[in-house]
Symmetry: C2
Subunit: 300 residues, 2 copies
């Protein structure tokens, strides 16, 4: 297969070992040899928050949930003493931090509230709320809508992967249907290639409504691999992530890309929530992207 990459294709990536290791892997995966991957197997999976767009001070999905749950609790006094409503109303930083770092108990409280909140609602009703959120809420540091804070180098990487006949999926612990509202316009990724935590729906008399029941578990840690297998029937060949909840997804792939947030000036510099993965990435020679050094532009 003769494949000539347009030199402009990864132009937000500085030349160097990281960019080269991506291109070398992709090239070797389409050429006969020990690294060859047959086209049907070419699945690439990307974490969302912190890998595809900004996740600080808080992932967009959590920001969305917190706003909705605050309103819900204000309307339902019986909820104010239960989590996650209590923490949200009291602006309990500890709970927020736990949720952001994806502590199990905090996540379960959020998951329960998430399933209840839209129970009985249609996909269109949910979509309208999400659209309103994306149209109006601005991220603090950049005073921009979340959909503007998508990493340009990752979108360029999607394009390159597609050139090599990879099918690109986004897999997040965040809400599947939340991401699907913006995935096509913002990321160029069809809804069916968006994998995430989800509720079940019930179809009755021509209408789909959400029910208070999760579909599979939460797509974090091992749950990412489980959701990816359920959606695609495969494990990824190429995977990219930035946090400890991506450890298993990266472990399950052949080529592993770790996004290191080390650019306080243009984005953020942090390792909390990524300590274990960063250690594994260094020990096992994953390809480590320094946002500061490897990307000459950050946002699309």
């Amino acid at each position: 297969m003769a494949l000539i990459l347009n030199k402009d294709m990864l132009k937000s990536w500085n030349d160097g070992p990281v960019k080269q290791s991506i291109l070398d892997f992709l090239k070797s995966s389409i050429e006969q040899g020990p690294n060859y991957v047959k086209p049907a197997d070419r699945i690439a999976t990307f974490d969302n928050d912190g890998t595809l767009w900004v996740e600080r001070p808080m992932p967009a999905f959590l920001d969305f949930l917190f706003r909705v749950f605050a309103t819900t609790a204000q309307k339902n006094p019986s909820l104010v003493s239960a989590q996650p409503y209590k923490a949200i109303l009291e602006r309990d930083e500890t709970f927020f931090q736990k949720a952001i770092e994806q502590d199990h108990k905090a996540i379960m409280a959020l998951e329960g509230a998430f399933a209840r909140e839209w129970s009985g609602k249609t996909p269109d009703e949910f979509e309208a709320e999400v659209k309103e959120f994306f149209a109006t809420v601005k991220q603090e540091k950049f005073a921009a809508n979340f959909t503007k804070l998508v990493y340009k180098p990752i979108l360029e990487l999607f394009d390159v992967l597609k050139k090599y006949e990879y099918r690109v999926f986004v897999c997040s612990g965040g809400g599947r249907d939340f991401m699907r509202v913006i995935s096509e316009e913002t990321w160029g990724i069809f809804k069916e290639n968006v994998i995430g935590t989800a509720s079940q729906y019930e179809y009755n008399k021509g209408t789909l409504t959400r029910v208070d029941k999760a579909l599979g578990g939460i797509a974090l840690g091992p749950g990412k691999v489980e959701h990816i297998f359920a959606q695609t029937g495969r494990l990824p060949v190429f995977a990219a992530g930035n946090g400890d909840v991506d450890i298993e997804m990266l472990e399950s792939a052949k080529f592993r890309l770790f996004i290191h947030h080390d650019d306080e000036e243009r984005e953020y510099a942090y390792e909390n929530g990524a300590e274990k993965l960063f250690a594994i990435a260094q020990e096992k020679d994953y390809t480590i992207v320094s946002m500061k050094n490897d990307w000459n532009e950050i946002f699309r």
Copy 2:
């Protein structure tokens, strides 16, 4: 958009109103006007058994299950008095008929046995059993492997839909992972475009194993629409089916194709299990394919 269809593309379809209605719909769906469907929305869903391949005397998946469960019951005397094992060992035609006609109780018994049977097994172990089945078992009437008894006109329709930028999905009450074993080679459909009844998997220490728990409900009737929405985030624009368990899927689509089995000589002629859908199809002007009159070839 100037799109010229190759005249050979639906060559197993006889010229006439059925072929024309398909082509007219597809053409109108890509042209500006009242029937225009934007590319992202172009989802087509096909039932499997009886729509894409032969389902008589018994759908391949049921044939597979019955053989496996018979062996399991012989090895586990405690199971011989429980369904579905009892019926299988006793060759209870009534139970088989109920299962084939997708009676709820029979299906639930099969579903339970299905979830238990491969609990703790890896995808590779399951795949090996399925491959063995497809390689060795022959359908009675045609003395051929099931993978040979795929309808050529439907495969041609897949190709035409793809030309019009539709993404084609197969959605069956049968096992998702069972179909995925053969979907790429036999149907030209990627695993991620195969939707069906499925069990959950657990990822632990680098290995996926199946757990005794369904992922969503059974993909029959309303369950088809629920599974399609979960997988794709949409309802289908184009849907094809042949049985009462496809009623809701067809109802949820814009263009509905009903496959009428009326060719006893070249395949089978039957309406049982399709009585309600056939009545709806006639009443609501669905496009009704007469296998006898509209297809000049049946099998690939």
